[in-house]
Symmetry: C2
Subunit: 498 residues, 2 copies
């Protein structure tokens, strides 16, 4: 096979895989926003078949030869083609290393575990889920060892979401957070809790607010739509078709507002990837935590800043003049930054959020190295919530069974949430060297901020590895949790007068 032929084959493979990805993502998006509930099993049949076809498109002798030909010629081909080759080859080899019967077994265990988890959560019954979690851990450890026989299985799991992230790096990261944030949270807890924005905010008005927020963020509605769903998420098929979602609660106007800003941050990443990476495996975010760094940058760093809240205050007063009469601009700012240790990760505030993640990381690590047994998991969960957050877990539904991740065997995913926040804080530090972020936000002009992020992060998609992207976004510095801790300390010290 010549290099030219191999490049043509690569293009054909990418076209096929793009079509499958687009179709499967759309089925997921539709299921979460629009589809009638009764169609899930039938949709499952179509998804299973498309995913089978997608696997067959990659695990193929000709594809293997194509990728090996290009890998050998990586000095002669474009940076883009070389990176595509590398990513697809990794994916192929990863799939090839796992015996087919083990792969099928893992899918079966996961499917069953997901079903049982839903029921166990509804009944708040961990014992029901425990044997499935044991099976999941066992098979995922085995799969990890097939993939990287020389590596700690948990590290292999982490690697799926965050390339080349080691357990010890994370231990160090969370140790800093624990040491610095636990006392800060305690100090904040001794101060009076700011009042919340209560009252009824009709959905029609909240939809107008979404329009204004998306305009403020520069989200072009020709390429980015907004849907409604139970748990907001973002899906990007390509840079001309990105979907954010939100959920309107009439009694909690800030809830949808922050869903829109968070998901809008994810969307800006997808919308900002270079044109010529589209329809290939290089479109989209380079890692889970860097994706999360963008959403959290908009949601927290910009979105809960004083300048941003002043703009939001104006919008709220404009759309809901009656409902807003009893609140000052200061009330709105402080309500957006209420901090209170709580039980549920997805509802946690900016300050306490990382500790929820830290607890999950510790538990996953201990489950994988055998120092924690599944039957002891709920007790350990509850103990850690008491120790780090000072809250008592009343039942497993609001404790160990709250997240879906483990039932889907997504071990190693959680740390990316906390890393994303920390990356964002360090990007802010680098950005401030050339952009007057506060001034931009105050005058409602987010374009310079987004342009900076696009130039350093978005445009590369997966062309550059996470470490390379971070290096550019940190102005050459290496990652340090210190920026994140500093950011939180400064913000909360001022807010709560510590």
């Amino acid at each position: 096979m010549t290099v030219r032929e191999a490049l043509e084959n690569l293009e054909a493979l990418e076209a096929k895989m793009y079509a499958h990805r687009h179709a499967m993502s759309l089925m997921y998006y539709d299921a979460m926003t629009t589809a009638p509930t009764g169609g899930s099993e039938a949709r499952g049949r179509a998804l299973k078949e498309l995913s089978r076809e997608d696997r067959a498109a990659l695990i193929d002798e000709k594809v293997r030869e194509t990728l090996l030909t290009l890998d050998a010629a990586r000095g002669e081909i474009s940076e883009k083609a070389a990176r595509q080759t590398q990513m697809l080859l990794e994916k192929l080899q990863d799939a090839e290393r796992v015996p087919a019967d083990e792969y099928v077994k893992a899918v079966t265990i996961r499917n069953r575990a997901e079903t049982v988890w839903h029921e166990a959560k509804a009944k708040s019954d961990f014992d029901m889920f425990a044997p499935h979690l044991e099976q999941l851990l066992e098979i995922e450890k085995r799969l990890a060892l097939y993939r990287r026989p020389d590596k700690d299985p948990y590290e292999t799991c982490l690697d799926r979401y965050e390339k080349e992230l080691s357990i010890s790096q994370l231990e160090e990261f969370f140790a800093v957070l624990r040491a610095e944030l636990v006392p800060l949270i305690q100090a904040v807890g001794e101060k009076p809790l700011p009042k919340d924005i209560t009252g009824t905010f009709p959905v029609a008005g909240q939809r107008l607010l979404t329009d204004r927020l998306m305009a403020l963020m520069g989200l072009d509605r020709r390429y980015c739509s907004v849907g409604e769903t139970e748990h907001p998420f973002t899906d990007g098929f390509n840079k001309w078709d990105v979907r954010i979602t939100t959920h309107y609660h009439e009694d909690a106007v800030l809830s949808s507002l922050y869903s829109v800003v968070h998901e809008g941050g994810h969307a800006l990443y997808e919308l900002g990837v270079d044109d010529d990476l589209q329809f290939t495996c290089l479109a989209g975010g380079t890692s889970m935590s860097i994706h999360e760094s963008q959403s959290r940058f908009y949601e927290n760093i910009l979105g809960r800043s004083r300048g941003f809240m002043s703009l939001v205050d104006g919008m709220l007063r404009d759309i809901f003049p009656e409902e807003m009469k009893e609140y000052t601009e200061e009330d709105v700012y402080r309500a957006a930054n209420r901090s209170l240790p709580s039980l549920i990760r997805t509802q946690a505030d900016e300050l306490t959020y990382a500790l929820h993640v830290m607890i999950r990381f510790e538990l996953e690590k201990n489950l994988f190295d055998g120092s924690l047994r599944v039957k002891d998991l709920p007790g350990e969960w509850n103990r850690m919530y008491r120790e780090y957050l000072g809250v008592e877990v009343p039942c497993d539904r609001e404790g160990v069974l709250q997240d879906s991740h483990w039932s889907g065997a997504m071990f190693g995913y959680f740390p990316s949430y906390a890393l994303g926040s920390a990356y964002g804080a360090q990007m802010l530090h680098a950005m401030k060297k050339t952009v007057d972020v506060d001034a931009c936000v105050s005058r409602g002009d987010l374009a310079p901020v987004t342009a900076w992020l696009k130039a350093r992060v978005h445009r590369f998609g997966r062309l550059k590895k996470p470490a390379e992207v971070l290096s550019g976004a940190f102005d050459g510095e290496s990652f340090s949790a210190g920026y994140y801790v500093r950011y939180l300390k400064d913000k909360y010290t001022a807010l709560y007068g510590l």
Copy 2:
């Protein structure tokens, strides 16, 4: 290949084709309801690839052997497998008869023609579209001759939408309609036009009306959702996931109401197909006109009847008490049955609708047999509208350029709209032998009507050929336009006191 192996291959082929169909239909549905406008080109890439894969799944040596093996064994296999084999073999042979370069050429011409048609319609400029229509006619005639060298090309086109329908049958059908309906329409035209329902009906209330209508029709929301779009349509992925759509006009409350009832009729067909035909080529309606017979049965025969309008009147008064104050129940019934010859097919009333179709059939037939040249088409269009409907066509946008069908090479599609109405009227005649339709509708119980249609039409999907289904639904009688003419004459004579 053994018969058992062939049956397994058939199942695998159907699973694959189902997945492609589901994915492509969903992309279409999403594009029409939700997708941001800027994503159409990118979606086109995915659609092109999936359609290529779908073609490749069918046009394959092993598939050919599978289908021929099953065809030879049709005495030993199930009725279902035999019918699947027959339909897929027809599709395969149909595709194989067209040379690949001619097929690609046709797709290219169609794509260009569709783009030009949009612009030509906007500018009301037929000359712009004319050369493309000439190319379309030329290539479609050639394709038809590849497919059936011994058959009139227009008949081959008709056959794509309505198996075994001949030109002479349609000529006879439309001759009856012309002779009977033209004088009836003229007589109605001499009577005063009933008043319309005017005023403003907020969308929120119309959405409630949709809920009530869907409940009345027995459309289970677990399996049938309703979306909003520009031009309403129905899409059914399988019987557990059917999507109807509507368009709310605040100044025309009956418009969305009849979209919901019409699309609901299509949906009941899809929802009523037997379980064991799902995920195969036998799920869905057996022909375009039989599908249309179901939608028009609900929309017109039931939906514009006195009993149904009495129910609708109650709903309208309930939801819009203020807006409805100035109308009586009789006003509502008569407004739903206003008849007035007009220019636009999709807005035509029940009585004049079939003549719009007749004109298109005559013109298509003459374009295909060469007796009409493309350059003379607008003049001929306008002459026929004057002669049969008594209206002057002011411009091509409201005349010959109004429909998208020709730009997509869907020659032979139009007749199914009129046939559907006529089939519905004959089904009503057969149904009335055992079901007191008027009494059922008056008491708001459509279940016996739907059950009759399900037993005679819906459940078979494509397991039975159109002619077999019609024979069952007509109680063994052959088709006669007389039932349709009688139905219209009786209804409009009473309504307008002729």
